[in-house]
Symmetry: none
Subunit: 212 residues, 4 copies
Amino acid sequence: MVATDPTTLPHSGDEDSAKRQQIMDGARRVFMDLGFDGASMNEIARAAGVSKGTLYVYFADKHSLFEATVEQECLSHGRLAFNFDPARDTKTTLLDFGRAYIEVLCRPDGGSAVRTVMAIAERMPDVGRRFYENVIALTMHRLATYLGEKVKRGELAIDDCELAAAQFTMMCQATLFQPYVFQVRPSPSPAQITTVVESATLMFLTHYRAKN
Amino acid sequence: MVATDPTTLPHSGDEDSAKRQQIMDGARRVFMDLGFDGASMNEIARAAGVSKGTLYVYFADKHSLFEATVEQECLSHGRLAFNFDPARDTKTTLLDFGRAYIEVLCRPDGGSAVRTVMAIAERMPDVGRRFYENVIALTMHRLATYLGEKVKRGELAIDDCELAAAQFTMMCQATLFQPYVFQVRPSPSPAQITTVVESATLMFLTHYRAKN
Amino acid sequence: MVATDPTTLPHSGDEDSAKRQQIMDGARRVFMDLGFDGASMNEIARAAGVSKGTLYVYFADKHSLFEATVEQECLSHGRLAFNFDPARDTKTTLLDFGRAYIEVLCRPDGGSAVRTVMAIAERMPDVGRRFYENVIALTMHRLATYLGEKVKRGELAIDDCELAAAQFTMMCQATLFQPYVFQVRPSPSPAQITTVVESATLMFLTHYRAKN
Amino acid sequence: MVATDPTTLPHSGDEDSAKRQQIMDGARRVFMDLGFDGASMNEIARAAGVSKGTLYVYFADKHSLFEATVEQECLSHGRLAFNFDPARDTKTTLLDFGRAYIEVLCRPDGGSAVRTVMAIAERMPDVGRRFYENVIALTMHRLATYLGEKVKRGELAIDDCELAAAQFTMMCQATLFQPYVFQVRPSPSPAQITTVVESATLMFLTHYRAKN
DNA sequence: CATGAATGAGCATTCATTCAT
DNA sequence: TATGAATGAATGCTCATTCAT
């Protein structure tokens, strides 16, 4: 019998073993709930369903585990595929993107990641920077590229597409993200999201639609 | 024996004794720099120039001290007086407000407060909520009230002034606050702030200016 | 009432507070019994009759506590005053010194110190070197100086007094120190010590007495 | 099923299987370098080139492995054949023995064994005792026997040959072994050894040569 | 009231040992 | 038999909190 099933080959140099993933899943939950300092390795071990010692078989220390956790969070966010087909209608694209974006951001774990990483950014600037670049800036840059395409096509008149992209994503958050992240209100409903995103889209297009 | 002589009971009922204030000043610096978990009572005592024991004379525990510190931060933010004189020109008012707002938010300590409170909001929802309401919502509500005045005067056409106020403050943050809070870039320069706030004001007025 | 009693002023910059001494006493017992690695800070705290935290008020870490303990052991050994009055009869001096030296070396704690420091010398060469120089070399050097005086007086004919001093102290250990330090036999009796030291003295003088 | 084929039962009753020896070789290096407490089973497994689990196939626990290691060290020391041919010239024999003895004792691994076993002797008296008897006492006893032979032949006049043997071996160590074992100086050079051993031999013979 | 020495529960981390494969 | 992943008790150390002075 040949061991073709990767789960039978625990983790020798295997960055993606099932156990490793299991640990990171537990760690993500605990880190995102309690923050880096608030999370204890004991609790992470319990949440991951492994012993404390096993944590250290897969990760050198708490710091490394945290970085790996954030890194994976980045990747999973980066994989979020918004539909930025340049051929697609601008208004629909913005509405769809805005709604999807806010839904991700205000989903229980979305806000926690922002919270957790922002909290530690002063002491771990690299972690903060990578998260910003891979999660926040990346998405805004994709939107900016889409907007640039629309400018080329003469549909939009935008001078600074990166700024415009940021303006749109920020506006979509209005009245939604901050109350959520400060625990004032739970995740917004789809209807609330739609209202805010429609208003943002309208203002955005009113201003940036090419006048010809 | 009635405590009529206030000098014998340094702070009973005296919420604002000099010593208490001295402690909170030290605590604010340490908490905002290192976060709740990262701050140690030792360091706070040193920063405040008192002994560790004295901390516990004025505050029951670390948690209470933190709450009091955030509360005071709220008050000092709430005292920030933006000029919302309804007689003042809308564009000028928005430009001035936007610039002042971003300058406060992106000032070294401004961001730290947001970061520190946001970080702990999951574990101390009350602290998060009070901060949101007294710092963030309060300012937006004042802006909303001003905008409502302008609507009454027929200068602006806004359906939901709270949403509009949020949209404006969020747009002003575009490309500025997030890189700053994630330690990607230092505090923005006045020129950068002006550029972004002008763009936000322009878009805002383009959309919400009454067409009559 | 003025605090003239140093025990009432715990340890602010006080290298010799009673508490510090109490900790070092406990630490010495545990370190000498179990060695550096075998000793746990918990056990030391118990032996010293203080809490674990208190250990760290007076010593930065286990390593520092160990060094301080060995250093003090050095000092107390260095203070041992053997009578090396040059006017004194050579034979009597050697007999007295030899007996006293072996008694110190083979006293329960004397051997433990040698054992403990020798054991760690590879990983803490500084500790080993200082112990050797302050305890072992110092005593031999004092003896060498005495022998040199006797050479000047024409009583002894020695070419290399340091070597001669080492030969004498080593010979005095014959059949006594090694069985003791390897736990084969308990501390030797005064009678056993006398026998060995007399034999050593006799051989030493037979060889090194000036022939004139 | 009878285990007649030794290859199917690697070591049952086979105290000296190649694997067992391989483990002990690795263990000896690690134990002698780092001491009992400082050595980890992980490191030993790595040094021996086997897995950690295999260690426990051949040895019940760390303690047993250590004992076996020391035992073997004893045997290999005991096998050291010094030339004690009674017909041989006394002075030459002592010079040769002394030099060989010090060279073994002060060879990097010689001192480590003494150090390692001495360090643990308080906690493992049996290990200490066996090492003393098989390594130290054995050699001295062989020398004592040789000396006794010379006494019989009328060449030496010694009352207590065991004491005399101990005196000689101790004198040979003078100025050499202690600085080496306390990490004050590296292994002595052959020239240094010769000087010290010659001096010891001279004093020894001066004293113990039969006067007839 | 103000102090700071003392406390001990809690933390991250290590390591001898076990066991399914 | 040989493996190495997994375990969890034990370690060195920190820090919020207490309390005698």
